[in-house]
Symmetry: C2
Subunit: 409 residues, 2 copies
Amino acid sequence: MGAVTNSLPAGLHTVRRHNAGLVLDAIATRPGISRAGIAARTGLAKATVSGSIDRLVAANLIVDTGPQTRSGRGRRGTGLTLSPSGPHGLGVEIGVDYLATCLVDLAGTTRAHRIRACNNRTRSMRQVMAHVARAVRAALDEAEAMGAPVGGIGIAVPGLVESSGMLRTAPNLGWRDVDVRAELATRVDLADRPIIVGNEANFAATAELLSAESGDLRDFVHITGEIGVGAGIIINGALLAGVHGFSGEIGHVCVDPDGLLCGCGARGCLETMAGQDAIMSNAGVPANGRPPAHLIDTLTERLAHGDPAALDAARTAGRALGIALAALINIIDVPVVVLGGSYGALEPWIGPPILDELATHVISAPWEPPQVLRSQLGAEAAVRGAAAAAVQDILADPENAMASARSAT
Amino acid sequence: MGAVTNSLPAGLHTVRRHNAGLVLDAIATRPGISRAGIAARTGLAKATVSGSIDRLVAANLIVDTGPQTRSGRGRRGTGLTLSPSGPHGLGVEIGVDYLATCLVDLAGTTRAHRIRACNNRTRSMRQVMAHVARAVRAALDEAEAMGAPVGGIGIAVPGLVESSGMLRTAPNLGWRDVDVRAELATRVDLADRPIIVGNEANFAATAELLSAESGDLRDFVHITGEIGVGAGIIINGALLAGVHGFSGEIGHVCVDPDGLLCGCGARGCLETMAGQDAIMSNAGVPANGRPPAHLIDTLTERLAHGDPAALDAARTAGRALGIALAALINIIDVPVVVLGGSYGALEPWIGPPILDELATHVISAPWEPPQVLRSQLGAEAAVRGAAAAAVQDILADPENAMASARSAT
DNA sequence: ATTTGTTCGTTCGGGCTCTGAACGTAATGT
DNA sequence: ACATTACGTTCAGAGCCCGAACGAACAAAT
């Protein structure tokens, strides 16, 4: 009889939490806003806002940047901004052929970023995790040297991750049933910092949601094309995780029941027509061990020169993507598609066929015409998203972070 | 930076609302529960529960059914149940060839139910709405005669309905851009009762969610097979509506890019292989103007007797459903499928091929094997769901209904 | 029949949170 | 210099939940 979504009892503290989140959200959205402005935006009383601000400042989540420089009558407000020295999020991405880390502050700006090429396909899970642990230690040290406290860690993995954080399978890594959080915690001293483990496509979507470029985009599907094809679905500013956390596996949506056999055992999966390997082999771009970024460059060059095989491969991939995305839009009604990963670079060629298919297959297209946008974030989307998600957890429940800040003092 | 889901400021009243919903939910889930039991279940203090109960009783949402008959030591609790004379929900379904109404009490039991056959395809929107208005008036009168106050109305429509209640298109009715709520309000005096307009498939899913038979099922896809094919997606006990409210249009998911042309203009839609018309014509069941229920009976008879054409049609439909549902499950990770509408009766024949396709195409199947269940609700699911949704709105925010009850006194 | 132990529902004081109005402060325009 | 406008703080007030204590109801043991 699920009438009440959150089945925890509410108390006064709940109100505080919620309102603190509201205040912080206002500051994040409009940096430099004054207390009065926050009161007007949130609908809270000025007194309430002031109190909340005091506590947020004490926890070093926000800073008072002094009087606003604003023309007009009356006393000037004092500007408030997310604290640059507040808790940071550390993002880690365990890719198939690279390992990336990045450090993001409360405002979402990247403070440090590092990517290491390495073939994780051939190495064992232990070896890879040892490497991850070294990278995390290095990143933590670097953060400390910068005076950037790390308040949470996000780990992006190319596979099915349960909401609990358990990695069920990562086909391209050859991993099964790995508790990534535990594996990391035994190798690095993380000092009780919260760790979020998630799917790379979902984190990439989160990154897109939080990126300044995308503005007020709060409903979209972000589709990532790397070795696999994954989607992250954002509805009303929140990731749709599904029951276990396995949502967004669009790569294995059946696009043609008589199609090619996929590595998963099924026939006609989207990946067999729009995965990076498929596009490259259809386009005749040799995949002899070159880094993926180089392959994409070669492909776009050929496309720009009008190579027929390349154009055909792009059209095929676009159509397949269009059919799969049409299914997605018909099913969950999210008519904005953001092309991320390597699809971003291919947008000029795959965008039109995608739009064509969406126009014919999406039943609500006449009323809400689907849009296809291009992500501004490159391959770094997933790491940034992982870091940003860690930060977001702090931002969403500041009262929590403030409690730990108090106990640490 | 959408960190906070609900951007309204919270106050003391918010807490009250939430907790009242919690208490009511506990009573709905476990009728006859005592105050102490509620306190234990919800985590609220006994004092808080008692206060909440007092107000809920005053609003006639619940009733005190006297001392519990329970063995064991200690004082017996006093049982609490949803009030049988509390506000009822009136459900209306505007079908393609019928018009149904039903009256549901707070506990979800149907108190009255009526279905009228009528060909709404050939009549104009005004004629149909006039008919609907008469039916609603009759139902309101009947409710009053029964001493069952109507607290809200739900209207199920076979088409795309925006969250605002605007019906964008109902292909099988030939309607476009109809404000069903307004059309009804001008024809019947509804006395400020809230009206919810929604898609029939979504309401059917709601009915399944709230039906006692389905127990603790809080995550599933309910799939309705009538003239069209629709899905209602329930995640964590809540309907996934999508951005505009257009979710669940699985009937036009492309199952075969080289398939038959659908009425929507696209090729290979699920409906062309698993819609009622398609199944019947594939099975060779003549559709000469007979009521749909009769057609299904004929089909199941033939299937039971092993008619090859019928078996083949069922297998084809099952496969197509399986492919479309696999896409849905891959995308949103809801691995429980409930077959409703006429699919319920066909479950013995379409269930196995659906499961086969799910097993091959769903990428998470090895970890979370998809299930296919059969709905116990028949064709009445949508009306009941509409009525239940109206009731649910009262139950979810009792403090609101209590306020109106007070002002009415 | 009485006592004991358990459970239930209510009462009451305490603490916490938001609110609204009043107040002091800062900047602008006349 | 003064009126005006806007900002941030202070303070009393009211509302809500909680925990403990209390009386009531009931079963089992004495």
